[in-house]
């Protein structure tokens, strides 16, 4: 039996329209302009992943919210859980770019990192 899937690749801004066919032998991907597209399609069918980006709160009035992202991708169905958790995070010191705000966020094994240099804003 053959299952077919259609999707848009989100690896790069090109946005290739992918077609994937899953048979007993494996997954065959067409429409991808690079190998990353094939890998994306396979993952998307077996275990889709996304990165999360958003903000957390801080105690500093100059920067009431601070941008964060997951340091890598997390399972797609964990994204909402991560988003919910970020609403309760409060930073009480000035973090630099890449510093870990929450380690192993929601048990994904991926850290939530700060993506702005708070030291450049606070007390300046």
């Amino acid at each position: 039996m053959t299952e077919t899937f259609e999707m848009i690749c989100i690896v790069c801004p090109r946005g290739c329209r992918l077609k994937a066919e899953r048979t007993a032998d494996g997954i065959a991907v067409t429409g991808n302009k690079c190998p990353r597209g094939a890998k994306f399609a396979e993952e998307e069918i077996v275990a889709p992943k996304r990165s999360f980006t958003g903000t957390v709160r801080s105690v500093f009035p100059e920067m009431p919210v601070v941008p964060v992202r997951t340091a890598g991708e997390v399972p797609k169905d964990k994204v909402k859980e991560v988003a919910l958790l970020t609403r309760d995070v409060l930073l009480t010191r000035a973090y630099g770019v890449g510093e870990v705000a929450v380690d192993n966020v929601c048990g994904t094994g991926v850290d939530l990192i700060v993506t702005a240099d708070m030291r450049k804003v606070i007390g300046s």
Binding site: P13, T55, V65, P67, T115
Partner: protein, 414 residues
């Protein structure tokens, strides 16, 4: 003291341009906000820097790399919280008058690099009827409220227009707990990038309705709802198709327009297609010494290319002695940049950016010099929202007649 270049705008374009100027030349960046970074400060989503750094960075991270570079340069001065009120062209230099907490101060520069970005088209510019209550805002305003101020502007919202910022905000508001009822687009095709449709709408089950627009805003103090209607091929609402949607916010994402008030005051000719200045391959406008970069020049898809284009201008400062610009004739594009070539300073390859005028399965780009074909290139799946960058070897000389033609290619082979 006279600067070699005064850069207006401390966003990604202005910073990249300033950093590309030779370190022996003094540069001044004028920024109206409290800190450098421009719109990237509020673009907390990722996808920036894939081309330049090979990493998926957030906007603030991408900006931070350039901010560090700017402040490490001894030849770059920065004035923040400083607003340009006037620019005057004198004989061989410019006088830029600014206002700030320090009062009114003028600076002199031999060159100007205009990097003041673009502005959002507002609800008023798309002729929506009804009231103008709280809750009616552009996608960029919503982004500023959520990502910089930590304020949620909606509980249940409708998004008008399928521009990328609107799509990004649909996801952001959803993850912050708001309900996004749907995205309405008057055109027959979405205007945002395909990947943003996938990861911002489809991932969250947010419906996108094409050939539909908001025709009426309801509510006196606060948005209470909107009426949406189908539109015909000329984007006119069709009566009898009205549907009322209760919501507390209407977020408008209907396009960006390059900001060129300063450029126009200097007499810089504007291309009606890009709504930015006409430039040569070094991003110099038709007014000697005035460069235009970033989204003030044309609205880019990717900040990586904003940086690249701005660096071209920065490197050019104080370099070219003589110029011989020729206009490029263009046919079949939504737009093509640069619109002129300085034939006295042609390098081995010249980089062009263009947008197709319509969706095309297969297209052919032909460049002719004095009627002779110089280059042909074939493309598959061109879409107006996705700009194409192409490097071409064009041995152009002063006085040559250069034509760019983009046409549908029926013979097939790509």
């Amino acid at each position: 003291m006279r600067y070699a270049a005064i850069v207006i705008g401390g966003g990604p374009a202005g910073m990249a341009a300033a950093c590309a100027v030779k370190e022996s030349e003094k540069v001044l960046i004028i920024e109206r906000e409290a800190r450098l970074g421009g719109i990237l400060k509020q673009c907390v989503h990722d996808g920036f820097g894939v081309i330049r750094f090979g990493e998926k960075l957030s906007g603030p991270e991408y900006a931070d790399r350039f901010i560090d570079e700017v402040y490490s340069r001894k030849n770059i001065d920065v004035r923040t919280l400083t607003f340009v009120t006037d620019i005057e062209k004198r004989n061989g230099y410019f006088v830029v008058t600014t206002t700030s907490g320090k009062g009114i101060v003028s600076y002199e520069g031999e060159n100007l690099i205009l990097a003041n970005g673009c502005r959002e088209r507002t609800a008023r510019q798309v002729n929506i009827h009804g009231t103008r209550p709280a809750g009616l805002m552009t996608a960029g305003t919503a982004q500023n409220l959520v990502n910089l101020m930590g304020i949620m502007p909606a509980k249940r919202c409708v998004i008008l227009g399928s521009g990328d910022i609107g799509l990004i905000m649909a996801r952001r508001l959803t993850l912050e707990g708001a309900e996004v009822v749907g995205v309405y687009e008057a055109k027959a095709t979405p205007s945002g990038l395909q990947r943003n449709l996938q990861q911002c709408l489809y991932d969250f089950g947010i419906p996108v309705s094409l050939k539909k627009t908001v025709t009426l805003v309801h509510g006196r103090d606060r948005v209470e709802g909107v009426t949406v209607s189908d539109v015909d091929d000329d984007m006119r609402p069709i009566s009898g198709t009205e549907e009322y949607i209760p919501c507390d916010a209407l977020i408008v994402s209907v396009g960006l327009i390059p900001e060129n008030e300063l450029a126009e005051n200097l007499g810089v000719p504007i291309d009606p297609r890009t709504k930015g200045p006409v430039v040569d391959q070094y991003m110099m406008t038709a007014v000697d010494g005035v460069y235009s970069v970033g989204n003030a020049l044309h609205v880019h898809d990717l900040v990586d290319y904003v940086s690249e284009v701005a660096e071209t201008a920065g490197k050019d400062v104080g370099r070219r002695k003589s110029r011989a610009s020729i206009e490029v004739t263009q046919k079949g594009f939504a737009y093509l940049v640069p619109q002129r070539i300085d034939a006295a300073n042609v390098e081995k390859e010249t980089t062009f950016y263009f947008r197709a005028s319509h969706d095309t399965e297969r297209a052919k780009l032909t460049v002719t010099i004095n009627g002779k074909t110089a280059v042909t290139k074939k493309y598959s799946m061109l879409k107006p929202p996705e700009a194409v960058r192409v490097k071409l070897a064009l041995p152009v000389k002063a006085g040559d007649d250069v034509k760019f033609v983009l046409e549908d290619d029926d013979d097939g082979n790509v």
